[in-house]
């Protein structure tokens, strides 16, 4: 995680941007978070811990964190975009339960390979891909009703 802070600092410097305490706090909060997160959750976490940190500042730093490769947007199914750490976190797809909201992650190299094949077929140079499956998780499908 100290590593990621260094990466962020370096990224900022390379673009003539400043490494501010606010940006450091935002990144640290994200790194200490377990799974996915959204702006709202991040704001409350930071706002609770230390008094003032503007929501606008969080919104403004998200693009920088994405461009530096530290986080990525993973979903936009629901109301708000969801993000997750991307450095050191292998690419994966998501199973989203539309009943209880639980999100399962899965990794499948074969699918990734087939995606590459599709891109080759179309002479398409991919930069990002998302595979999301919605439905009912193990618990919810067996609870009752279909």
């Amino acid at each position: 995680m100290i590593n990621q802070i260094a990466i962020f600092r370096e990224y900022l410097k390379s673009r003539d941007l400043r490494f501010t305490p606010e940006r450091r706090l935002i990144l640290e909060a994200i790194l200490s978070l377990p799974g996915h997160f959204n702006i709202e959750g991040l704001y409350y976490k930071l706002h609770r811990k230390m008094g003032r940190l503007s929501l606008a500042t969080i919104y403004r730093s998200i693009p920088h964190l994405i461009n530096s490769g530290l986080i990525k947007e993973v979903m936009r199914y629901a109301d708000r975009p969801q993000y997750e750490k991307s450095l050191g976190c292998p690419h994966h797809g998501h199973l989203v339960c539309i009943n209880c909201g639980k999100i399962l992650e899965f990794k499948d190299d074969e699918i990734e390979k087939l995606q590459d094949r599709v891109c080759r077929e179309y002479d398409f140079k991919p930069t990002e891909h998302r595979l999301g499956i919605r439905g009912y998780c193990k618990n919810c499908r067996h609870k009752k009703g279909k």
Copy 2:
């Protein structure tokens, strides 16, 4: 397409909803559209053709069209959700060019099978899935720059 109107009418009746001229016009406009569409485009198409048709009415009928299986939301990458006809349109993934905006569609049964396998592994009952790949299309990748 006459078929789809019948389906919509039946769906509405089954839920004690009314088959209004506005709903018919909205569905007809969608059916006459070639590919993907969004609310804004639909509104302008309908508004141009025939004077008054409220934006609110369009927003209100989208969920009904989705629930009746006639359309589905396919993307939410960009600013606004994109929809497409779903009846008689086999499931497919999307290649979205982040330079020119072009959208290519692809179909891959092997990927679909692997997705099913993943669902089986997790005892997950899928209702919908989306595979989106962003990057540079054939033209844009060869134009200039990387």
